[in-house]
Point group: C2
């Protein structure tokens, strides 16, 4: 096991009716002026907005609002939020939504307290030295951003999607009410399932094997996402399935599933170029396309690992005489599962073709300045090969 640091200070309030307590919780922390940051009109339609606003008002919290977060949140909106927070002396940023609203909030919170341009955090030009506290009310089980240290954003001027990690990105508290996800459409539920699986799978598929508890927790997360995922597709109002998905999404990205290992989110990088080019590609859908292709490209470098995955997560029977068959069966089972919940399996289904591959591969190496580590080190040509597998 490698040395590691584990830190996950976010206080989680999980369960029914918890979002109606947000005002009381913020008051207990002593904050009086907040920014409420959210997406489109859905939280207004389904009543979440009213419940939250009532709770905030009842507890004497002054609220500025910044709606309009899009999937793959954009820098322009972040800059607007930073100005607003500075003008209003905001003390806390409250995100209501999924990973997009939360990541955008994290960046507003850090940007408000640092003099640089927020994009500087993503290109390694600056690191936040302070930040406003962020709190979240989660409405989508997917990204795990509600307890994670990471934030991802799209620079719409450069068509680039990038992420960065900082302890300042860890929310102060997060409210997870599974009932708020009952109305998430099937497609987005499925994208969320892929997203949470991938956070764990990317940490799991490495060379370094000995991290036994990390492995078993990772396998637990994957099994739960698959079992509860299938159930939520059948009955979107199944509380236990939605609850399992919601908690699984958080655990999958709070780093419990990566401790003691070297890992690198390779498929995430491959996907970022897809949705960087076509922002309408949902993160989970893009990952569902690239992961099986990446796995087929690299699995021979670590057949025992892919066998363990196949056997422990998908209950494949071990073929002791031909382990490669078991390894492949696990990859196939993953691809089948993604398809079964309505995910695309090719670039073409995402509106991408052969002609886009070169550009994506070049950008993915940061114009030749980096290779992607992992089971096989990937340069531009290898990345292009993987994209071609999923054409």
């Amino acid at each position: 096991m490698n040395n590691f640091e584990f830190y996950c200070p976010t206080r989680v309030y999980f369960g029914k009716d918890t979002h109606g307590r947000v005002g009381e919780i913020i008051k207990k922390y002593g904050f009086k002026k907040i920014l409420l940051h959210y997406g489109g009109g859905s939280i207004r339609k389904n009543g979440i907005y009213d419940t939250v606003m009532k709770s905030l008002k009842d507890n004497g919290i002054t609220v500025s609002e910044l709606p309009g977060v899009k999937p793959n949140p954009e820098l322009a909106r972040v800059r607007e939020g930073i100005e607003l927070c500075r003008r209003e002396n905001t003390e806390l940023v409250l995100a209501v939504g999924g990973g997009s609203a939360i990541d955008s909030s994290k960046l507003i919170a850090a940007g408000t307290k640092n003099d640089c341009d927020p994009w500087d955090f993503f290109i390694g030009k600056a690191l936040p030295e302070d930040a406003l506290p962020v709190a979240t009310i989660l409405t989508l089980a997917a990204a795990g951003s509600e307890t994670s240290a990471s934030a991802v954003i799209t620079n719409e001027e450069l068509n680039l999607k990038r992420g960065y990690t900082s302890d300042f990105n860890r929310p102060l508290f997060s409210i997870l009410n599974p009932e708020l996800t009952y109305t998430v459409p099937k497609f987005h539920t499925a994208c969320g399932i892929v997203d949470m699986m991938m956070h764990t799978l990317e940490r799991y598929m490495t060379f370094k094997q000995e991290a036994e508890l990390t492995d078993r927790i990772a396998e637990s997360v994957l099994k739960c996402a698959i079992r509860a995922g299938k159930q939520a597709m059948i009955d979107p109002r199944d509380f236990e399935a939605r609850a399992t998905l919601m908690w699984t999404g958080s655990v999958s990205h709070n780093n419990l599933t990566g401790l003691g290992r070297d890992y690198y989110l390779v498929s995430h990088q491959l996907e970022h170029e897809m949705s960087g080019l076509k922002p309408e590609i949902t993160h989970g859908a893009g990952l569902a396309v690239v992961f099986p292709a990446w796995a087929k490209y690299v699995y021979k470098t670590n057949i025992p690992r892919f066998c363990q995955y196949a056997v422990r997560v998908f209950n494949c029977e071990m073929d002791y005489a031909n382990p490669e068959r078991t390894a492949l069966a696990g990859i196939e089972a993953t691809a089948e599962f993604f398809k079964s919940i309505g995910m695309p399996s090719t670039l073409r289904e995402c509106g991408l073709e052969e002609k886009h591959i070169e550009e994506m591969a070049v950008k993915c190496t940061n114009y030749g300045k980096r290779t992607l580590p992992g089971l096989i080190e990937l340069g531009k040509d290898e990345i292009a090969d993987i994209y071609r597998i999923c054409l």
Copy 2:
């Protein structure tokens, strides 16, 4: 799944050589005056004391020392620590040791900042409203106190052992270096294995079943404790086994394995009376005696749960026609495992006899003022019945 709150803010530094960084870490937090609290001479003999003192000195930290913590730490020593901290204007209490040193430190830290007698926390007369920060360097994988909110202490005047829970008990940071446990004798290694398994088992053996990820993480913890436990008994210097045990001990008691369930640490209460009466009984050894007896007494109230345990944790084959057999096989496998690592299986081996049972049962109900909840509600007579099963 029940509503729950999850909060585990302790920053964990895990791995080789980490204890030599303690001074640098404390300095980064900005503390200058600390109390170093530890047990007997073992940390002096094995070099841990020197490494820690050097690191503290190199970083300009002023150190008061309070050695002499015993297993089942005592109130008198805690009161001494509180006086010392007040006199020296101590800013942080650093525990070096296992659960005893850590729990004693937690109580010193809280006692210093509150005017009441520290025993008041345990009898519900007062709750801490503030506390000094606590940090730990763990030398025994067992109690999980290094990330938990609980503290347990013995009142030697009353022959009573009691615990209490508070967020102020959560350490600021904990240093977990598995190498520091190489020299732990086999008996205490085994006690630690039982201890960590029991923290999870007590949360697992309940009525409320639906908390899928909690279940699977609990089963992961149990499997790791068993597998790595066996290995550490064979080779005490196996780094991976010691590392798995150390991290498993923390995860088993940071509440990840109890989220979304009603639970109550019944066997812990039964054991507290044993070591309350005979302080030489190690916590883990006492638990190894009472848990199988408790399980045999209650398993018929929830046969599916005991079957799931038997099948998933011990790989017992499910007897679909006679589930009771599978349930019992799991309990037997647990008892066998405890015996195989050198644990006692009867009260008599712990120096307790029929004549002690009445007193323990009476104290366990707090002199008739409470019953123990769980799969069967236990009054004095039921508690005595369970003690008799393990005579």
